[in-house]
Symmetry: C2
Subunit: 273 residues, 2 copies
């Protein structure tokens, strides 16, 4: 094999690591791929760690121990997250997107890959330390952002359905009180999660918290611990939700008389971390 130069090794390694966030690659894996010595690879990784940090492209971590190696994680710092969310808020505020009944149209935002990708990176950054085993969402609109978060965390996405489906096998169904006050059903395939796992709930919208509370109850049925809850959009009213401790990116208020939306970055984004 022709000798591979440092800049070639580093570029390829960057693609491989950042293409599978939170996945640990052993040094031996890269030694074999590039035909290089461990000491050389260690040097490459040291330089790469600095590059990633210098250009705000995430974080490279060396993990020690038997299952050790190197992994890439997204890391969106609070000021950067706040700037990104602030720009989204500007796009969503005003009268243009307010629909009859005081609803806000933002489905386009929820399925544009680069926007959703960054939202997922912001959410993942907040919850790496909680080491969730999977991300849970309720169909439909939150699936892209939940998927992007799961991707950044390197874990599977699990989707709760409104009713059990023949192609998902035996399921656990629970009832919950929706935002409109009606009793709804939520269903999850038995095969999709295991007892003792840790779950991060990700969804697009939080109003009263009925659906979120339903997901928490559903996880209790499975013996799963909910380690966090994060939403794209939260309504300013009601102030008191049925759940607590969640992190939303944006907070929305709609003035019904003037049909104007006021969307602001959530308060927790003001931190320095």
């Amino acid at each position: 094999m022709e000798k591979i130069r440092r800049n070639e090794r580093m570029s390829a390694m960057m693609k491989i690591l950042s293409g599978s966030p939170n996945k640990i690659f052993t040094l031996s894996h890269f030694c074999e791929l590039f035909g290089a010595a461990k000491s050389t690879m260690s040097e490459d990784i040291d330089i790469l760690r600095d590059v990633v940090s210098q250009f705000g492209l995430g974080e490279l971590e060396t993990v020690t121990g038997a299952a050790g190696g190197v992994r890439y994680r997204t890391k969106v710092k609070r000021p950067e997250a706040r700037r990104f969310v602030g720009e989204l808020c500007q796009r969503l505020s005003g009268a243009e997107r307010v629909l009859p009944g005081g609803f806000l149209y933002y489905s386009d935002i929820l399925s544009t890959p680069d926007i959703v990708g960054t939202m997922g990176e912001i959410m993942a950054t907040e919850y790496y330390s909680q080491a969730p085993d999977f991300v849970l969402t309720m169909e439909t609109k939150g699936i892209p952002v939940a998927f992007a978060t799961a991707n950044a965390l390197g874990v599977p996405l699990v989707i709760a359905r409104r009713s059990s489906k023949v192609y998902e096998g035996s399921a656990v169904n629970i009832n919950y009180v929706s935002g409109s006050g009606s009793i709804e059903t939520m269903s999850l395939s038995r095969r999709s999660v295991k007892e003792g796992q840790r779950c991060l709930i990700v969804d697009d919208f939080l109003k009263g918290g009925g659906t979120a509370k339903g997901m928490v109850d559903l996880m209790r049925e499975f013996g799963v611990t909910v380690v966090g809850m994060t939403f794209v959009m939260s309504t300013a009213k009601p102030v008191k939700k049925r759940i607590t401790g969640e992190k939303s990116l944006m907070v929305m208020d709609i003035d019904a008389d003037t049909e104007t939306a006021f969307v602001k970055p959530a308060f927790w984004l003001n931190g320095d971390a």
Copy 2:
């Protein structure tokens, strides 16, 4: 600013380019970011192009003209795609995943980010040349793979719903004949697409083609051209579908008597391209 070395520039550039597939970055953008001359950046890009190609990490293209620059595209070669799909087929074949009624459980596959990401890359590789403006899917199970494909193509995802929703504004509804023979409704927000656009249909499952045909009809209502259709799984029967020209990754046959699934890579994956 401290001088940035070639290996640092190249690694950062690789992350930025591959993080936004199919998006054109101008040379000036990188010159400014790294404080380097255009000639230097051109050299970097030449080397990077070789690295990407040598390690099978995709493709780097220089685009000339007024809106010119450099872009990254995923490129999964047929033999590699076939190997990947072949491994999936092995996981899905057998009796373990067959559910009552002759259905196959593969929801887990459809929401594991690294699997779905690769499926999206394979699908995108096939349709870059068709230059779709967006990806269309029908809720629910196909959303992750449709999102991954949209991400690789650098275009938005558009999700058709089973009924119109208050938070999506005025919508176009059409009726279609589902696989079970019943008449169903499909709904799409008026705001989500524009007349004259080009659409790639991506979904998880193709049986008779009723839903796919519904999506084609829906696009006609919007004055949109369907440039391709691609599915994760297609059933061997019925042989004649209501649509033609689609590309599925896998073909499934279930023996109802022995309750055994036979899943094979689709024939078109045997090519060399």
